[in-house]
Symmetry: C2
Subunit: 183 residues, 2 copies
């Protein structure tokens, strides 16, 4: 394997915001060449595939300002300081769909855009849901969408579901359940 | 369906860089509440699942400075000005694995992180590869990784593949091929 690590030569913080921090670094590659790396630092997030029963999923529809349209996604949200991924999953289920889960299991962790951000998304499956007090979030308008697994798969095959973590999450959850059943 | 569109009240360009542009906007939600939206503008990208033959995939291993580790990913890259997604796919295949493809087909387009970036990734499958002149990129060190589809699936189930577009891309490509075969 070739040596590939990039060494930071100098760095600059461009912006420290509410959610994101932006750095601009100069790195030296193993070849000796220098390159600019623009990095968006993010606190990390969770995303969760919630099964209301064996075949019904609860997704959420929300306007995404960055892309200028409404998207259908699995419930997800940014980790708060000191919060564990498991606590964050339960909080997002309460806030976004008004449920909590008796059973959650971690599927994997993934990097949504490793070319320019360190964001990691911890992906979970949630089952045995029970209704909880809804705690809406002040700066989000979110509407639940109930779909069978078959419908969800069709929505992602036909491009009605366009969110990367949702595509990865639904297909990995399907695979996870198949393996659990010994398939 | 609830009205959910967010209206921009004011905006500020924080940074215009080599790859990314960062904006900080104040938006008004349908509820009347105002919120801050930090948006990373990105030119868009392609990603491609390349089949060397019916069962062998060519992925790439590269150091990702933003996450501080080497990742195994499907070939991908940012669109150049005026370049079509199809041209970009062929260029990335040449640059990253030293092949071109006689046949490419679009699978879908996805948003890797719609919470804070407008980046869209156009996802393709490439078949009938033939060796081409390798055109390395100055600021990238990339090494090809040959895997069977079965190995690739195992790598993403066990967390050895952690890149979101690669997880979504491999599972969608598998599904695409199954459908093509009438499965």
């Amino acid at each position: 394997m070739k040596e590939s690590t990039e060494r930071k030569v100098e760095g600059q913080e461009i912006y420290r915001g509410k959610l994101l921090t932006l750095h601009r670094d100069i790195v030296e590659m193993p070849t000796g060449t220098r390159a600019v790396r623009e990095v968006v630092h993010h606190p990390g997030a969770v995303a969760v595939v919630p099964f209301l029963n064996e075949d019904t999923l609860v997704l959420v529809r929300q306007f995404r300002y960055a892309v200028g349209e409404e998207l259908v996604e699995i419930p997800a949200g940014t980790l708060k300081q000191g919060e564990s991924p498991e606590e964050c999953v339960q909080r997002e289920l309460r806030e976004e769909i008004g449920y909590e889960a008796k059973t959650i299991a971690k599927i994997t962790s993934l990097f949504p855009a490793p070319g320019y951000t360190d964001e990691v998304i911890h992906l979970f499956i949630a089952r045995d849901l029970f209704p909880s007090q809804t705690e809406g979030e002040e700066d989000e308008v979110v509407e639940p969408v109930f779909l069978t697994m078959g419908e969800a798969i069709e929505w992602l095959q036909t491009g009605r579901i366009k969110d990367g973590k949702t595509i990865a999450g639904l297909l990995l959850a399907l695979d996870f359940i198949k393996k659990e059943k010994g398939g």
